[in-house]
Symmetry: C2
Subunit: 380 residues, 2 copies
């Protein structure tokens, strides 16, 4: 059940709460990506609690290939497998089939493709994706869709959207069936539908109108941050958002920088996810309340300050810039780990501050300040 | 100051206590190797406390090359740099100069060699090694020696031992000088000498007789576990141990398996270190109280038990064999990290159990049981 607690009066921003069998998600929220049932860089379920994660995101495609969703099902589902007891969202596999797999063939029934691990031929359609996600027992399952790279051809996009709608209907039916089975790990699994339509305003709106009729547990905007300009992304959200149900959570998939998040909360988005915190950490790119910094920069060589004086993460509480910089340069796993923990904490804390600002009624001034600061370079 | 608390009446095993400015080390002890100022696999100073580490070991050669001991000195020494406040032992660099560096030239003054990182020409002699270790501010500095691979030629070994003794004298002099300087991080830095002599009994004994005259803070046996048979190693310890001062700690460098440790405590050794816990973890080789196991074995695929039911480490408290196996196979950093934490905890716990057995007077039965069990394959 989703409750919109309050709405900002100067923007489309909303403060909400999704109540799930695995706990309540306070929104706006950033989900922490654990593609293969673990955060890149070595963060565990305990670490996720430490960095104030609310929701973990895992991947249907990856877990289907390795270790296999049937194995995870036999072991009691993803919660038991990973030790993370809070909400889990599973991606449908759609995006990965289109971005990672090779020799892809799209048919009405689904997609034939080759595994990126061993080249094995695999078929995945709406029913398969639902079965895998039911096996995983996630809190929220995502519908199986076709994710098209931008720019995309108009007529192809239109046909693809229609197919994605038909696939969504099949997802809904199949998940209903699976929820009734005896060995279902999570019979109350929720389903979010995904809006597509590239950057074509009419297609986006039309598709959203189609899928909102299905009364799903939530609605995602997919197919953004895949090649278009940032302004086109913002524009697409502005165009489609008024057609999203007010009383359902809204999830912008795969976005983005801290700045993107502040901008998209402003535009009415409740859920986010992105690999950016861990991917950037690997290269020493860290986020702070004074803007971005690259820790590999020579000027941090003897800097005994924490990454961010105002951060309470395990890296900032215990270690200096100089030490973490040394570790990343020496390719020590600990360097990557501390950088990832910092960035994840920063994202989760950003969402907390956004929620605080919405609760206390100063979101507009928060937005005006941080939409600028978060995009700048940390001058320290 | 070293205190021998008790001696076992059926073996050479000793229970002792080394009091240092950074805390007391209860012996027998296993030191946890953090070569580049971090444990391989991503364990931090906080993790070391969690896995019950007493002493961290870092490396003079590695830290001299990167990030530079002068940098660490300016930042206040290794304790401040890493966040580890307990005792730290630094290896002298001797072993690494002989095992990692290339284009080596040994002269009376020291060794000329090329860095394994960038090929840069470097000179290190006794004074340089002491200066670096003084910069690092470790609790215990190791003397700069020549470590010869086994088997070694008799006459070369004899000449090398004599040079190592001359180098040791220079180490002692230089460390004394450094301790008096104004900007010394740890003026009470201890010095351990290293016994060499390959597997030649007369050379070992003769060399030990020479160096024990110097009244150092501790004595190490070096140049073992570098090519000889295990029985030759045990024999060498049996031969040289009676000539080691009774009232000083005895450190067997770079050893070994849990079985080796039990055998060598039995032979009178107090200090150990080895990269085995982390190196083995990387390949799924784990130590348990029922013997060794390889977690990548197919039979653990759906095993929901912890690695060891009797282990209190963070991996065993929170995660299953099936999950950690999946992570290692998927090359997720978390898999390596959990495996390393388990193995380190196991080693530290092994030493705790050895100390308990010595304290309570049942070391002989402990030894008889575990010298066998620890070498076996875990039947579970």
């Amino acid at each position: 059940m989703y409750i919109v607690i309050s709405k900002d009066d100067k923007s489309r921003a909303r403060r909400g709460r999704l109540i799930t069998p695995h706990g309540t998600i306070e929104t706006p929220v950033f989900m922490n990506v654990a593609t293969c049932a673990a955060i890149k860089g070595g963060a565990s379920a305990e670490d996720l609690r430490e960095v104030k994660c609310q929701t973990m995101l895992s991947n249907t495609y990856h877990l289907h290939l390795r270790p296999g969703d049937d194995l995870i099902h036999r072991l009691g589902g993803l919660h038991k497998f990973t030790g993370w007891s809070g909400p889990i969202l599973t991606d449908s596999g759609g995006f990965q089939v289109f971005s990672l797999a090779s020799l892809r063939k799209i048919k009405e029934e689904g997609v034939y493709f080759s595994s990126h691990i061993d080249g094995k031929r695999i078929f995945m359609g709406p029913e398969e994706s639902m079965r895998i996600q039911s096996h995983l027992g996630s809190t929220i399952a995502m519908a199986f869709d076709e994710c098209i790279e931008n720019p995309a051809e108009y007529h192809y996009t239109k046909r693809s959207c229609d197919r994605t709608t038909r696939w969504l209907l099949r997802c809904k039916e199949e998940l209903k069936r699976l929820s009734g089975l005896d060995d279902t790990v999570n019979p109350q699994q929720m389903l979010f539908g995904i809006n597509q339509g590239s950057t074509y305003e009419d297609l986006r709106i039309n598709h959203m109108k189609q899928i909102r009729e299905l009364d799903l547990d939530g609605y995602a905007i997919g197919g953004l941050a895949v090649g278009e300009e940032t302004e086109e992304m913002y524009n697409t959200i502005d165009v489609v958002e008024p057609f999203m149900p007010e009383d359902k959570p809204r999830y912008l998939m795969g976005v983005g920088t801290p700045q993107n998040i502040v901008e998209c909360v402003h535009r009415g988005i409740d859920f986010f996810d992105c690999v950016m915190p861990s991917r950037n950490a690997r290269h020493g790119n860290l986020f702070t309340w004074n803007g971005k910094m690259n820790l590999l920069n020579e000027k941090y060589k003897e800097d005994l300050r924490p990454i961010d004086e105002n951060c309470g993460c395990p890296a900032c509480r215990n270690h200096s810039r100089a030490y973490i910089r040394h570790l990343i340069k020496a390719k020590e796993a600990l360097g990557m780990r501390l950088a990832v923990l910092h960035n994840l904490y920063f994202y989760n804390e950003l969402m907390q501050k956004i929620r605080d600002a919405l609760d206390a009624g100063y979101y507009e001034s928060f937005y005006q300040k941080y939409r600028v600061v978060l995009g700048e370079r940390n001058p320290d």
